[in-house]
């Protein structure tokens, strides 16, 4: 009798060990769980727009300060206000300012920011990394590869066109005033202060009374 109980207890113990060692689940569900999650640049850019970009806008350099600094001491201006990625002669700057629309061109608005200085606010050819790298909010070290990192630029540029440029183009008329924040790209060996091009990430058009 004792022997039989021992055998039964032994079998129960083995069954318990086997039961708790196994984890049974549907094969398709398992595959879905273990498949590498692909990077979603659109989602990343949307988060950047909501969380990261406002910090950059708050810290943007007044465009008149940047232009003056570039005129006085370009090296110092690049060091103090610019952001550079890797080995490059190109720096990106986050700038803010206000001006009056002088003319509406195919690709940009010509804006007078004071009596002597004009800049260009881009309304077409919104491409590249100016906003991504100028913002200083996107860290290359967190990306698996350059493709993902570059797709973030594409997605951010798309948001600029959707959220800022489309409305700006409709409202832009010569004589109106614009308060803007945006990203500019300047090469250390090709500084041209007469046609600084800014990709806007925020723009408020007004006639002096209404926005």
């Amino acid at each position: 009798m004792n022997k039989t109980i021992k055998y039964i207890l032994g079998i129960v113990a083995v069954l318990l060990v086997v039961y708790f060692s196994l984890d049974i689940e549907n094969l398709q569900e398992h595959q879905a769980k273990t498949t590498k999650k692909t990077f979603d640049a659109t989602e990343y850019a949307a988060r950047f727009w909501e969380d990261g970009l406002p910090k950059s806008i708050a810290e943007a350099t007044p465009v008149t300060t940047l232009l003056k600094s570039l005129e006085d001491n370009p090296q110092e201006a690049f060091k103090k206000y610019g952001r550079k990625l890797g080995i490059s002669k190109t720096d990106y700057f986050m700038v803010k300012g206000a001006g009056t629309i002088q003319s509406v061109e195919d690709d940009y608005l010509e804006l007078a920011i004071n009596d002597n200085t004009n800049i260009r606010v881009a309304t077409d050819f919104i491409f590249g990394n100016a906003v991504r790298d100028g913002s200083g909010q996107v860290d290359i070290n967190t990306f698996l590869n350059m493709t993902d990192f570059n797709n973030v630029s594409v997605a951010i540029d798309k948001l600029v066109k959707e959220k800022v440029v489309s409305r700006l183009k409709k409202a832009a008329v010569p004589g109106k005033k614009i308060d803007f924040t945006g990203a500019a790209e300047i090469r250390e060996d090709q500084i041209n202060l007469d046609s600084l091009r800014v990709i806007p990430v925020q723009a408020i058009v007004s006639d002096g009374k209404t926005e």
Partner: protein, 315 residues
Amino acid sequence: MKYQSILIKPLIFLTLLLGSMGCNTGTKKEGPKKIAVVISTLNNPWFVVLGESAAKRAKELGYEAQIFDSQNNSAKEAEHFDNIIAMGYSAILLNPTDADGSVLNVKRAKAAGIPTFCIDREINSRDAATTQLLSDSFTGCVKEGEYFVKQMHKKGNYVELLGLVGDNNTWNRSNGFHSVVDEFPGLKMVAQQSADFDRNKALDVMETIMQAHRDIDAVFCGNDAMALGAYQAVLAAGKADKIKIFGFDGSDDAIRSIADGKMAATVMQYPVLMSRKAAELADEYIKGRRDFDNRTPVEVDLVTPDNVSKFLPEK
């Protein structure tokens, strides 16, 4: 007998002492440290320049440098890594064979305490390599795409010749170009095919495409070798004046072709700069530096007829 034993004991002690000193001096012996340069293939002049420049800079910095040819074969690359780890190299400058396939090799080297610095080609990993020095192909092709759109006046039919489909560079270039060109509905891609970065394949592929599409205005190629192959096909068809050719790399032949009006544009990469910098970063690592970004993009330049004189090779 007693006299003998008095002598034998100190002799044994001295022998052991000298032997152990000999062993110590053996392990502490320091010749120049060694840097391995592992190149995807030496069957292509571009990669020869890459490998030789890296090795030359490593030697200038006081290291022994040896170049290993992976012959575009991940298994061969793995063998090289086995040998490099066994032979106690201090650093590896790697031009990988495969973005995914090479990751394991780099991880093995890292586990053995050997840092790897990737050059020109990328591996899909955040932390296996110490850093990866990569031409900023995407940004280069964004600029080339913008130039393409302006040259085409925002309309026309074009062909794209892709490089090796397993290479991240192929897609970074293509994606950069399309991130611009696809925004202009007047520009229509009538064919997109791979020619494996190869001039002869590009010639064949372009000939076939031109038979099916007679109204092509431009060809965008993922490298200059393919651009020159495409130009040969276009020339043979008598359409050299009509079809604009765009390349990537900044090879001497392509630069001369732009100066001669045969090609519309290319993007200049800097393989010598990348390789030399990789050797310098390896040197800094060996001397104690540890704060590296996982990727170091290297800027490239758009070359067009307007600025080609700055890039013409010395005769």
